[in-house]
Amino acid sequence: MQELLNKIAIGIEKGNKKAVLEDVQAALDANIKVESIMNDGLIKGMEELGAKWKRNEVFVPEVLIAARTLTAALEAIKPILAQQGVKPKGKAVIGTVKGDLHDIGKNLVKMMMVGAGFEVVDLGVDVSEAKFIEALEENQPDILLLSALLTTTMPQQKAVIDAITAAQLRDKVKIMVGGAPVTQEFADEIGADAYTQDAASAAERAVKFVS
């Protein structure tokens, strides 16, 4: 059993989707608990990759491919997880605010969030207040992440937070903000729950919010 879980973990690290899906099926067939498959196989593989990331031993593409593999595997066992009431570590909604088309920074954060075990709903770029609120209502996430890369779209992060407050959803979600011109001071000023400097620390901070 341990061997199979290890194999799954290594498959995630290598981003070998086909092998991982097969191994997960084999694990299910062998009556390994789905919670264990998730935590000791899939998530563990991702954690080990995360450790390598921190030591500068892997690049983004490797993490992205692993994250993609993880998503596919989680998708495959989703019905069983739901059936057994096993929940992901947390749920997050992410998007770049209205007027801002910057994509890559947001995608990096999304990647690290997936890697940290979050289920992530990506709203894309140029996202209006209304769309964010709709997504909150629909997905009930633990975390909302707002990206802004321009000095003139930073105020839109405030607009989103204000709209969420007005919609009386503010206390239901932790809001994190980021982007090149954003600062901790600005985050405090607009009432965000957290600001981090880069994608990796964003995910680390998010984990603290749900644990």
């Binding site: 983004v60 801002d100 994509d103 990096l108 894309g124 770029v125 000095t151």
Partner: protein, 459 residues
């Protein structure tokens, strides 16, 4: 192609900063590439709202930025400079705003020219809003029209140089960078990018001719600089970013094939290749653009530059003054040093150029591919290709070959974990079919980027 470029125009001895074969001269006498390297000042708003009600404040920001910067330029006896007005999205979506900003900035510049004989030119750069999710087509429709309107009316409002950081092909290239997928990158730059550049720069050149302004050139910023910034953080291999830079040459060259005459845009580091191939002057940015982004090419970027830029800085108050004024001063001193060498004579210029070059080129493959000698060598390789597609592939292969050699000769530092990437990238490029149509079909079918819609390119 319109104009054809088929040979390298400089030898190493004549390939220097401040001087280009085909300088660009404005009516007021400001000359780029005519002997002196000059500052190109860039600036942006501080954190503030940009809307109907704040627009007067926005205008006042721009007015005071350029006024203070010009004042300092006079105090430092700056012999001339270019100001770039890189419009924010808001000012591009509402062309009348962008045009008004252009007018206000240019007026201040004229004032300093009249009162203090400070010659200057304005580069107008709308943001390429064709990236908007609602943009239906690359070459017509609302977003295209707005950009063209800004160029045309901005020219009448006083712009001298027309530029843009165009995004044709970026829809696939963003993903290419994240996955370090060189095939996809070649598709983005060498196929889609070149197709788009042709249409775009044909139109811009037409407007420039009609309005008596200068069709100046583009930058592969959204491609190669995005890669550079990610590489700088250790997210992707530096060798990948270095190769992307060289791939970008063919794409940025298209502007010149369609009639642009320079100066090439500051954040397009591939400009050194453009200069080698076209003889037009170029703008570059390095250490003195650290305010906008850190980089591994702080000195070498100046080696053959004709304008020296700070890329972008918010209008924040530093202790020494407003940040754009501070950066005007820094650029002025950088240029002063280089122009003093020019006054001293050619051998001083060559020495300074080589010091700038040698000081950076060992530490990073991205710096290495900007070495003047490497630029001349790789340019020749690139020009062996018969069309954009083939040239782009050759660019990639030649860059990889040069980096491998340099690594083996200990001329460049490539970290061990990056070395295998050279082979991986080469294999990928070699697997690309010879026929551009076959390749295009393959890339469209295998496309995983949600942002890329072939029909926007009539594909």
């Amino acid at each position: 192609m319109g104009k054809e470029f088929n040979k390298v125009l400089y030898d190493l001895d004549s390939f220097v900063y401040g001087k280009s074969l085909y300088p660009v001269k404005l009516k007021n006498g400001l000359e780029i590439g005519g002997g002196l390297i000059l500052p190109e000042l860039n600036f942006t708003l501080p954190n503030m709202l940009f809307n109907e009600s704040t627009f007067p404040k926005v205008i006042e920001q721009y007015r005071s930025i350029i006024d203070e910067a010009c004042k300092r330029a006079v105090e430092l006896s700056v012999p001339g400079f270019v100001a770039e007005v890189e419009l924010l999205p808001d000012a591009t979506y509402r062309p009348e705003w962008g045009i008004e900003i252009t007018k206000v900035v240019r007026e201040v510049m004229y004032e300093y020219e009249q009162k203090h004989q400070l010659k200057s030119g304005l580069r107008l750069t709308p943001v390429d809003i064709r990236e908007d999710l609602n943009s239906e087509h690359m070459w017509h429709g609302e977003f295209w029209d707005k950009i063209m309107r800004i160029f045309e009316e901005g020219a009448k409002a006083g712009a001298d140089f027309l530029s843009i950081e165009s995004i044709g092909g970026k829809d696939v290239h963003d993903e290419a960078i994240m996955y370090c997928n060189i095939k996809q990158s070649i598709f983005g730059l060498g196929v889609l990018g070149c197709m788009d550049m042709k249409r775009l720069w044909g139109s811009i050149t037409e407007i420039a001719e009609k309005t008596g302004t200068v069709s100046a050139g583009d930058t592969a910023c959204g491609f190669a600089n995005t890669a550079m910034v990610l590489a700088d953080r250790g997210y992707i291999p530096k060798v990948f970013a270095a190769v992307i830079r060289v791939l970008a040459v063919v794409r940025s060259l298209v502007a010149y094939e369609e009639g642009a005459v320079g100066p090439h845009k500051d954040c397009g580091y591939e400009g050194v290749y453009i200069k080698a191939i076209t003889g037009t002057p170029i703008s570059m940015e390095g250490k003195t653009s650290a305010c906008a982004h850190l980089s591994p090419v702080g000195n070498i970027a100046a080696a053959v530059a004709d304008l020296w830029s700070n890329e972008s800085v918010q209008n924040l108050k530093l202790l020494g003054g407003m940040a754009p004024t501070v950066y005007m001063e820094q650029l002025a001193y950088d240029c002063r040093l280089m122009n003093t060498a020019t006054k001293k004579g050619h051998s001083a210029v060559l020495l300074l150029r080589d010091l700038l070059t040698d000081s950076d080129s060992y530490y990073d493959p991205q710096a290495y591919v900007l070495r003047p000698d490497v630029v001349l060598k790789l340019s020749a390789e690139i020009l062996k290709g018969k069309d954009h597609f083939e040239r782009t592939k050759l660019a990639g292969l030649a860059a990889i070959r040069v980096l491998r050699e340099a690594y083996e000769n200990k001329e460049v530092l490539i970290s061990e974990r990056e070395v295998p990437w050279l082979d991986m990238l080469q294999n990928e490029i070699e697997s690309i079919p010879a026929d551009v149509n076959v390749f295009t079909q393959e890339m469209i079918e295998g496309n995983t980027s949600a942002k890329f819609e072939p029909k926007k390119y009539d594909l």
